[in-house]
Symmetry: C2
Subunit: 317 residues, 2 copies
């Protein structure tokens, strides 16, 4: 008999196929386990797979009396109440770095598309306005990338991959993170100093209670009227109403966002703006990063059921 | 009295300001000189500024009996009949490299946006379909950049800048050009071999009579169903109807195009496709590349009127 694993979050079925080949999967698909299944069905569940971003507190953990492991599909685990898990002796695992290249790629894609106004350009061609030689103020030449100072907020695996990519565009790279690393980029001692220094701010910090709304009206103002902000981390890191205001009144020039304060919702005030580029939290959604994330999930589950430490355990859990 | 310079092509006025500070500008704005001005006004014109891409043959040159220099605003000069200019003792100048960074940036922007389906993603968020949890087959995970083989067709200044940028995305770079260079990229001996080897083809070749429709149905077929083509060179290099067919029937996965066969026209068959990203020939249109192109134009004009060789002369003209 294969071990039973509960899938707590809602995932596309294609992403669960490999887990089903090795485990008996009970898919709660976003419902509380005790609402999706009878108590007898879940009484012996010892491990669950969750997305890292959705809230998962002690109350949910308590619906599974035998729960010993929460394995996050993805690098993030900000939704998991780590203290509650620790109190209950539940280990937490994730998929560090598995999607870093894909996420860094989307960060750069959004940066370039925002700076060069790609969605507006694409619409301009498709609408026939270009063929009709109808001028568009949005199509006037803008400052490009060369010579720009690009600030990376957070220098984990994704931040490093963003920095390596953006450096190839003849830019200067600076960063702020809690730790100063031996890297060929300028270190700025605070987020404020980074925002003063750069005109493009790339948010790649691991979300947590200490950085909720860290990028606020003050930080945005420091980027300046030629400034851009790109967020591929979590919506919680930006004060979203302040961002909408800064984009609307020209405090900054534009933004590229893969994440939002309350997903999958993007407010009308944001979706109506021409100077933003928006994507539906697809940073990690490439075929190769899904395979890599599934590898991590399976390695964590296999180790747990073999009574071994998780190879990709969340520290401090 | 400042020297007189005729502006042959149609340019936004903002791009001519610096020329007017040093020369007396007669702006034909796309008309034939002898239609825009009286013969007496243009009888003593010795130099003209032209966009490099629009046709400029001996008939137009003959409307200016004293013409000694054609200075192209931009790196391209494929519209200029070089043989006709040489016969008349007219030197031709251009702006090599001035816009290379901006054009390379757009090439990478289009590549990333096509591979990651950014315009579809942006529309998906703006339409409310994401918030409504309405699935979209276009939003299923696709192969990303990591590990891809990217082929660069043409290894001039723009091709090199494209290669340097794309290499940062954890890809392999190969190239084909007439000349094999000492570069850290794989050299493929033909366009066919390059297309067989790569899944993303970046067209950066200088357009000319020898490469009209070089990227045809056969080359596209060699890229494969996961293949992409990006063109920032000239529309003439691609067989555009063959491209539309390949995009429509799934022979390749997508395309990013900044240039078209007959600008500013993009055919309906192309603008209706969801798997293309289109921009209105804005590759070089950043503020910094306009300044650099204007620097080249002024350096060429100043040298010409001082009786010196053009610093940025087109060789073989």
């Amino acid at each position: 008999m294969p071990d039973k694993v509960l899938v707590y979050s809602r995932f596309p079925k294609a992403q669960l196929v490999r887990f089903g080949e090795r485990y008996e999967i009970l898919n709660a698909a976003g419902q509380r386990p005790d609402q999706a299944f009878a108590a007898s069905e879940i009484a012996d569940i010892r491990a669950m797979i969750a997305s890292g971003g959705a809230p998962l507190g002690g109350d949910v953990m308590d619906t599974l009396p035998k729960l010993g492991a929460i394995v996050c599909y993805g690098t993030g685990y900000d939704g998991i109440d780590l203290a509650a898990a620790a109190q209950r002796g539940i280990v937490v695992g994730h998929s560090p770095g598995a999607n870093a290249a894909s996420v860094a790629d989307i960060a750069v894609t959004l940066m370039l598309a925002a700076v060069r106004r790609l969605p507006v350009a694409d619409s301009y061609v498709r609408s026939g306005d270009w063929a009709g030689r109808k001028p568009s103020p949005m199509m006037r030449p803008q400052a490009g990338m060369r010579g720009r100072k690009v600030g990376v907020y957070g220098m984990g695996e994704i931040g490093r991959k963003i920095a390596a990519r953006v450096a190839a565009f003849e830019t200067e790279i600076g960063y702020f993170s809690r730790t100063r690393y031996d890297l060929p980029y300028q270190y700025l001692p605070s987020l404020e100093a980074l925002a003063d220094w750069c005109s493009v701010l790339m948010i790649a910090v691991r979300a947590g209670a200490d950085n909720v709304n860290a990028v606020d009206a003050d930080i945005l103002r420091r980027l300046g009227s030629d400034g851009f902000v790109v967020n591929i981390a979590r919506g919680s890191v930006i004060d979203q109403p302040a961002l909408v205001a800064a984009l609307t009144d020209g405090t900054i020039a534009g933004a590229g966002l893969d994440v939002f304060a309350s997903e999958p919702h993007a407010p009308d005030a944001l979706t109506a703006l021409p100077n933003v580029v928006l994507s539906p939290h697809l940073g990690g959604h490439t075929l190769e990063s899904h395979v890599a994330m599934q590898d991590c999930v399976l390695a964590n589950l296999d180790a747990f059921f073999a009574g071994k430490p998780l190879p990709y355990e969340v520290r401090g859990a």
